[in-house]
């Protein structure tokens, strides 16, 4: 080994060859480079010149260095370098004690550890030393010295344990062994993971060993990773990934269902310093409920497996309320509190639309495992029938009291109720508001902390009878029940004797409410299939037997003989008695995991130990000769190229370099232009702010520079005209790209149609469609009325119209008609007859108005539909008429060019903008007298 590097040489003497390098340097410097060859006509004159001293120009130093490096590589290769030579611990005859970490955290790199141990045993065999093998997971086993051959067999029999090991417990046995043996050499094959008492072990190990020789193997093997705290949240299932080392890393967590088929994969990534990361499965809740096992892909250890049972499944809970106008005051609605309390652990389905009966029927059809009825009164017999059947099959029905329930009378309550409620603390009552006293020890709420701050003002009372006490799950201070419940068939009926809102008590506002509901949800069946178990079985059985357990590598297997049945409410991490795995019945097992959800792993700090460090050399010894020789070959090739280029002249070299630089620059520039510019993404917010801070006209950027500049000038001209003539002082017009920009900010989008332009992508079409559906107006202008061939349908035969038809073919366009005389568009600001632009022969089309049959329709001066036409089509080139140069002169001439045509073009624009902004306001009858007067009728 050389100075910490795992590098040795087979023939170190050959390294003396490196001493020849200075000589080589001198030789290379002296040897001249090949001369340049130049054709030179007056060469014959040169013959007459007496030759000067022929000191050649020197080889460039870097070329010499390159050649020297190549030569040095050849010499190094000849010396036979070997990376990762065999590690050896030895030099004494004392017995060798091998401490072996064999918890789950060692499983991922188990082969490496076994190999290292094997090498140690082989070395001990060579030295004829005894070996003691101490797996740190077995404190009960005595440490015995055995011959190397036996130790090797014993080593093969050790398998990693699926749980976190407590190294400290083994120290007693080691201490006893060392006391009897005396001198010994100790080697600890550490896995570098501290699962709890690591520091204590390190300290005690130092004491136990005393001044005996210690070698610690650490590093060099892949660090362990673990999964904890899987959580089926509202939108996705998340699981935390833990590790002990730093450095950026990423991986995949796989989700597998009970049958072993993969359901999904989620990526996770560690930052440089992160010890903890998270993988999230964004799957539908039904799929997430099928997940029974999460594992880190490629990590073979029990810690990298997270087993999920029904506690991780999200139930759908149907909430039905009997109240009618609940949504008006949400904070008074019972559904509000229920939704808030249930949503952390269940999918709430609200039945606030439709009558309670219908909603219940609907929920029953959906086979929800749990239904909450908040103050639902009388139910029809058939619904009652169905509910009863559903409860028999395992449904959980939770009812909340309320005025309606107090008046109703049905059998879907666990206890018989007294008619009418009881009011506490009212002006006509003696009693004070009651507090919650206790949870029944055998009820589902057993073990919950009893909150002292809950007051109950009003409740429904149960008829006292013999079984009331057994059905009471929570009671008030005066002994009256707050929550009652009973098992019926395979299901449960439960009643909260208060309402689910804050009027009767403040229970719904407390944290206990959430916990109580969680317990109830836990009891509900997790599948919607009839007959699938309700959790009551588990609560009935005291202990559950192991079904399938994990081995250290995270694979399922039959439970080992040491595995014992565990209490049904066991929620801790796996141990040697209760190894991680599934317990209980096969159709509803309970999962025990290697790590509890709060467990974290830390790197094991062994720096306080006075020990020799060694690394798991997880690679075979590697012969570096091939690499060195091939790299020297590469260097020689470079040298040849350089010499050839020098022969062609340094000038050529330089030219080539500039050419290369130019090519590189071009490549970089093109790459930069291809890559999506980040400014666009950042600019989105800016764009939105700019667009909404002021009303702006928008136009579609076509990509045709001529058209775009005219349209921009035109929209600017119209904006200016609007500011001069109307109250609308709009901001500068905005060019938009329907494929990328948010269109919703603009009341009107002007779309110049460029003949032959490709159809916009479907994505853009969809956005335009949505924009038009949301009330936006698109003004399509084909700008080619003058090109229309004569004839009946000439106007629709222009190239622009054909392109437009192509665009509109995939849009949901309403029926269109030419603007009728009485259309509100002709009245919104100016009274107009037609809408000229740069041309005046084109027709303007809008959405067809609904036909009105009533007689006075004809007499109405202005008609508008219910909304604004989402589409206006013209071919008059409006923007062309609006466009002005910066000096105020019109950009384009008009056809036919009557003096007032431009004025009317602007007026058309004003009317269209006003139409999009005010809608059918001018169609209101209020304006009729004024309009009629102005129209002179």
């Amino acid at each position: 080994m050389i100075a910490g590097l795992p590098l040795t040489f087979a023939q170190p003497l050959l390294l003396l060859g490196l001493l020849s390098l200075p000589v080589l340097w001198w030789l290379l410097r002296v040897m001249p480079p090949r001369p340049r060859r130049i054709e030179f006509p007056p060469t014959r004159l040169l013959f007459d010149i007496k030759p000067k001293e022929e000191t050649p120009s020197r080889t460039p130093w870097w070329l010499t260095a390159l050649r020297l490096a190549a030569a040095a590589l050849v010499i190094l290769a000849a010396a036979g370098p070997i990376w990762n030579p065999q590690t050896a611990v030895g030099g004494s005859n004392a017995p060798l004690v091998i401490l072996l970490d064999d918890g789950w955290s060692a499983a991922a790199s188990w082969d490496t550890r076994i190999k290292a141990a094997d090498e140690l045993i082989a070395n001990a065999e060579n030295d004829r030393r005894g070996v003691a093998l101490v797996p740190l997971s077995e404190p009960a086993r005595d440490v015995t010295l055995m011959p190397a051959g036996t130790a090797r067999v014993a080593l093969r029999q050790i398998a990693p344990k699926p749980y976190s090991i407590d190294r400290v417990d083994t120290l007693g046995a080691l201490d006893r062994f060392l006391k009897t043996t005396g001198d010994a050499e100790i080697t600890w094959l550490s896995d570098g993971v501290d699962t709890g008492r690591g520091a204590e072990f390190v300290e005690n190990l130092g004491k136990t060993i005393g001044d005996r020789k210690l070698t610690v193997f650490e590093g060099g093997a892949a660090p362990a990773q673990a999964l904890v705290a899987a959580e089926n949240a509202a939108a996705k299932m998340t699981v935390k990934v833990l590790r002990t080392t730093g450095g950026a890393a990423a991986g995949v967590v796989r989700a597998i269902d009970a049958k072993g088929s993969p359901i999904g994969e989620a990526r996770y990534a560690f930052g440089m310093q992160d010890r903890e990361s998270e993988a999230a499965f964004d799957l539908p809740v039904e799929l997430r409920n099928d997940i029974s096992r999460l594992e880190i892909s490629g990590e073979r250890s029990a810690g990298a497996v997270q087993l999920l049972d029904k506690r991780w499944r999200r139930r759908a809970v149907g909430v039905v309320t009997g109240a009618t106008s609940d949504t008006a005051q949400p904070l008074l609605a019972s559904t509000f509190y229920l939704t808030r309390a249930l949503s952390p652990f269940a999918d709430v389905r609200l039945g606030d639309r439709g009558a309670a009966q219908q909603v219940i029927a609907q929920f029953l059809d959906q086979r929800l495992p749990m239904i909450v009825l908040a103050d639902v009164g009388t139910l029809s017999p058939e619904i009652r029938e169905r509910l009863n059947a559903w409860i028999d099959q395992g449904g959980v029905l939770v009812r909340f009291a309320g005025p309606r329930l107090a008046q109703a009378d049905d059998d879907l309550v666990p206890v018989k109720l007294r008619r009418g409620g009881r009011i506490l603390g009212g002006s006509l009552t003696w009693e004070k508001p009651q507090h919650l006293a206790s949870f029944a020890a055998d009820g589902p709420f057993a073990g919950l902390a009893v909150p002292k701050d809950i007051t109950v003002n009003r409740q429904v009372l149960a008829e006292p009878d013999a079984v009331l006490a057994t059905k009471t799950w929570a009671s008030l201070e005066d002994g009256t029940p707050l929550v009652t419940g009973e098992h019926r068939g395979r299901g449960i009926v439960s009643l909260f004797h208060v309402g689910a809102d804050s009027r009767w008590s403040d229970l719904p506002m407390s944290g206990s409410f959430v916990e109580m509901l969680r317990r109830l949800v836990d009891m509900s069946g997790y599948t919607s299939k009839p007959g699938a178990g309700v959790a009551s079985e588990a609560t009935n059985v005291e202990t559950v037997a192991p079904l399938r357990t994990l081995d250290g590598f995270g694979a399922f297997g039959p439970p080992p003989s040491t595995a014992k049945p565990m209490p049904a409410d066991y929620r801790d991490r796996g141990t040697s008695e209760h190894p991680p795995g599934f317990y209980g019945p096969a159709d509803g097992p309970i999962a025990v995991n290697t790590l509890a959800s709060a467990d974290r792993i830390a790197p094991l700090d062994t720096s306080s130990l006075r020990a020799q460090r060694a690394s798991y050399t997880n690679a075979e010894p590697r012969d570096l000769r091939g690499i060195l020789l091939s790299s020297s070959l590469v260097l020689f090739l470079i040298d040849a190229v350089v010499v050839a280029m020098l022969g062609a002249g340094l000038a050529a070299l330089w030219r080539r370099r500039t050419a290369t630089a130019a090519v590189l620059l071009a490549l970089i520039l093109s790459a930069a232009s291809i890559a999506p510019s980040p400014t666009r993404a950042q600019g989105n917010d800016e764009f939105a702010i700019k667009s909404v801070s002021q009303t702006r006209l928008a136009y579609v950027v076509t990509g045709n520079a001529d058209v775009d500049s005219i349209v921009k000038a035109g929209m600017t001209g119209l904006t200016l005209f609007l500011a001069q003539r109307t109250a609308l002082e709009a901001g500068d017009p905005v060019g938009v790209d329907p494929a990328r920009d948010e269109l919703a900010f603009f009341p009107l989008i002007y779309w110049p149609v460029v003949p032959g332009a490709p159809k916009p992508p479907q994505d853009a079409i969809n956005r335009i469609d949505a924009y038009m559906k949301q009330g936006g107006t698109v003004l399509f202008d084909t700008r080619d009325a003058v090109e229309a061939p004569p004839g009946e349908n000439g106007a629709s035969q222009t190239p622009g119209m054909r392109t437009l038809r192509e665009i509109l073919s995939s849009l949901d366009v309403p029926e269109l008609e030419p603007v009728p005389r009485e259309h509100v568009l002709t009245k919104t600001f100016y009274l107009l007859r037609d809408f000229p632009g740069r041309f005046n022969s084109g027709q303007t089309w809008v959405e067809t108005l609904p036909r009105e049959d009533d007689d006075d329709a004809a007499s109405r001066p202005a008609r508008g539909g219910d909304g604004v036409s989402p589409i206006i089509i013209t071919s008059n080139d409006l923007a062309g008429a609006w466009a002005h140069r910066p000096d105020g002169q019109p950009m384009l001439p008009l056809t036919p060019g009557e003096p007032r045509q431009r004025e009317f073009a602007f007026r058309s624009g004003v009317n269209i903008v006003m139409y999009t902004l005010t809608g059918n306001y001018k169609a209101d009858q209020v304006h009729a007298p004024a309009l009629i007067e102005r129209l002179g009728q």
């Binding site: 130049i38 006509p41 014959r44 004159l45």
Partner: protein
Amino acid sequence: MAAETSHETREILAIRRADGESRTLAASLPRLVLEARRIAANVIHGLHGRRRAGAGESFWQYRRFVSGEPSQNVDWRRSARDDHLYVREQEWEAAHTVWLWPDRSPSMVFASKGARDSKLERGLIVTFALAELLVSGGERVGIPGLMNPTASRNVIDKMAQAMLHDDAVRASLPPSFVPSALAEIVVLSDFWSPMSEIRTMLAGLSSSGAHGTLIQVVDPAEETFPYAGRVEFVEPEGFGVITAGRAESWASDYVTRVALHRDEIRSETNKLDWLFSTHTTSRSAAELLLFLHSGMMVAKGTARGSTVKAGRSA
């Protein structure tokens, strides 16, 4: 063989380019009219007024009829005006033969980095332009060994055709031939041949008493020797190779050697009363043409003994 082919290709390219460029150049200069002083009476008639009576087309003078002359010489129209008989005399006009020699040897193809044209191109441009000017001035132009003297209007095409179809070995110096005593010879070459060859050539050409001009067309690199480092110099016509260990130290010696070479040529031409000048391809071709033009126009008697420099002097 390949080198030969590439040289031919380059020559063809150079001829094509020179064809076009020379026409523009020629069009920009006034007609070249040579002074006729030294032209003998028996040379072929041309368009040069000799300022004396003789065969020609333009009117020179009326003189009294001398008896014994053929009576058809009498100009009856003039004679009818008074009592004497007159003979109409034309001005004597005679054509001049100019032999042009553009060097087309491989060494002329050389062009260094800074030069606009190769020496070959420059030589051909000037040759063609000069031919065009001379022909339009009524002279006859020929290329020794390649094209007989002609006064054809499309002389450039003829020259180009002749060169393109020339399959002889490209020699640096014109072949030995005997021009008529009154012919004019213009040799455009780089004159890097050994002095003995140049002497032989000059002796042969001037043996009949013809007058001539030698223009040494050189590349800028051949003037300044801008080389450094270890360089192997190759003579393009295969006359040898020499390696310079540090070329930059050869520059001053080279410049001295070139000056010596030119002095030797100049002393030869001075002896023969020929003109010698150098032209660098970094200068414009028009400059050289102007020099040749004026050199032929100026009375040789006054210019005799001095050399007019065109372009960069050596």
